[in-house]
Amino acid sequence: MKALRCFSLLLSLSVVTALGDLSRPQNLSLQTLNTQYVLHWDWADDQQMAVNGTLTFTAQYLSAFQSRKAAHKQKWRTVCADVSERHCDFTDAGLNYWGIYYLRVRANTAQWFSSWTNISFCPDKDADLGPPSSVKLTSVKGDLEIVIAGPLSSTNESMKTLVQDMHYLIQYWKKPEDYKKAEVLKTKNNVVTLSELDGSTWYCVRVQSCCDFYNKTSVFSDTHCTRTEGQTPYWQIFLYFLLSLVLCFLLVLLVWFCFYKVLKSLKSIFYPNVQLPAHIQELWSPDSEKPQLLPPDSSGSVCEHLDVISAEMDTVTDAQSLNSEDQDTSAPSRHGSGDSGFNSTEEDFSRHGAVTDVQTDDVCKTNRKHTEELHNGTLELCA
């Protein structure tokens, strides 16, 4: 009984002394994906007030076979030294995928350090497998072709080199239905053809990578949907046939119409409906009598006398010329006056009508003069 009391006292003392130390990290957990390993831990934050200075953590690992040696002979390798975060990345620490490792963490301050918290880890056994890195779905002649690229390690190598018995689980279903009604296909190949599918139907596919020995399954990849090629339905064939018929008909109609128009225009040019009058049409015949402008046997020139009256005379003389005009048949040419001059003289004639009666004698005189002059101004036109 005394011994028991003594022992319990010692135990309580040791517990009290331990509380003076820094508390060690807790809840060690590994977040893994393929060959990426991140160790997370918690630390009792209620002790934060008692901590003087900054709090840091140190994380180390050891190959499990070395744990049989004495503690001072064990070669622990430090991965994170005095970090303030509550996690440490062991991806690039050089952990062999097939070995067993012990990972340990402790908390440090300037004066104190806590005891170590250990965890055992074997990547081959414990690391989660990631989904395939890419899934491509194409429709090929009524079948679906799936090209799968496997999950990649942190060094961008295929995980198949590390996990020998890795295979893929392909789930495929018709689009309106759910993935719960999906069919499952297990394969080790990277290129898979799904056959015996319904034509012209939408199918959806998703893939996950699996490892048999430890029953590891990854999350599913993204769902890809595509439509299979299929036989065109009969109504579609019939519709296309009808459309092509109508088009052909319209085309033929257009061609015929154009041809008809061309023909019609040609006919109107060379064989018109409207006939020329007979007396004109006669001119085109070779033996008809054509009106002659000139007698065919006249060799010499034909001359005509032309009286030229100057336009520079007075309006009275103009009136005179008008009277003389009644006698003359040939039209006099006037200098510098056209039809407008002729019109104006008509007006003048109406205005100066009375004047002419008075000035007739004078006019007669001037007329005589004029005629004399005129004899000098006679022209001979010859053709």
Binding site: S63, G99, F213
Partner: protein
């Protein structure tokens, strides 16, 4: 009455032992064995020519890994497991030469240790015709010959190369002849 009860209990446990279904890990893995081979093979180069004079012939216990009928499969399994244990013990007791690749040797020892830890339940299997004790004895003689070679040649580089070549021969023999008892055949 008590005797009857005990008899029934005994027979029940007996049958349970014989008919105990092996768990997933009660099997050796072919891919791990292959990796073990690769690591020790690449830890150093080819067998050096200067060590050919030192070479001693150590008789290889071929019969340990052979089974005449299907009832001896467990015996062979145990023999393979025992081989791994002996290899582990050899490298645990003596340190390898510095010329060897330290990282590869660490990986090698790690994977051997893993196989030993994970497939421990193989040793608790039992079969009627396994004749494991004789196999165990032959293996013990073989590994003692290896360690004595090391001691005699004063743990020289050549001595270690001889031991390495012997271990490689053993592992390759197991892979060639005993793949059927291991997990990881080509089919799905």
């Amino acid at each position: 009455m008590d005797f009857h009860r005990v008899a029934w209990l005994c027979t029940f446990f007996c049958f349970a032992q014989v008919w105990s279904l092996p768990t997933r890990n009660c099997i050796l893995r072919k891919d791990l064995m292959k990796k073990t081979c690769t690591f020790i093979e690449t830890a150093s180069g080819l067998f050096p020519s200067q060590c050919l004079d030192d070479h001693v012939s150590i008789s290889f216990p071929q019969n340990v890994f052979e089974s005449s009928n299907t009832l001896q499969v467990t015996g062979v399994e145990k023999a393979v497991y025992q081989t791994l244990q002996n290899i582990d013990a050899l490298f645990e007791n003596y340190s390898v030469p510095d010329q060897w690749d330290e990282e590869k040797m660490t990986d090698f020892r790690g994977i051997v240790y893993r196989q030993i830890e994970e497939s421990k339940c193989i040793m608790s299997k039992s079969e009627t015709e396994e004749n494991f004790p004789s196999r165990e004895a032959s293996l013990k003689v073989y590994f003692e010959a290896l360690s004595s070679t090391l001691k005699e040649k004063d743990f020289s580089f050549c001595a270690w190369e001889i031991v390495r070549s012997e271990i490689l021969r053993t592992l390759n023999f197991i892979l060639k002849h005993n793949s059927d008892i291991m997990y990881g055949s080509p089919q799905l």
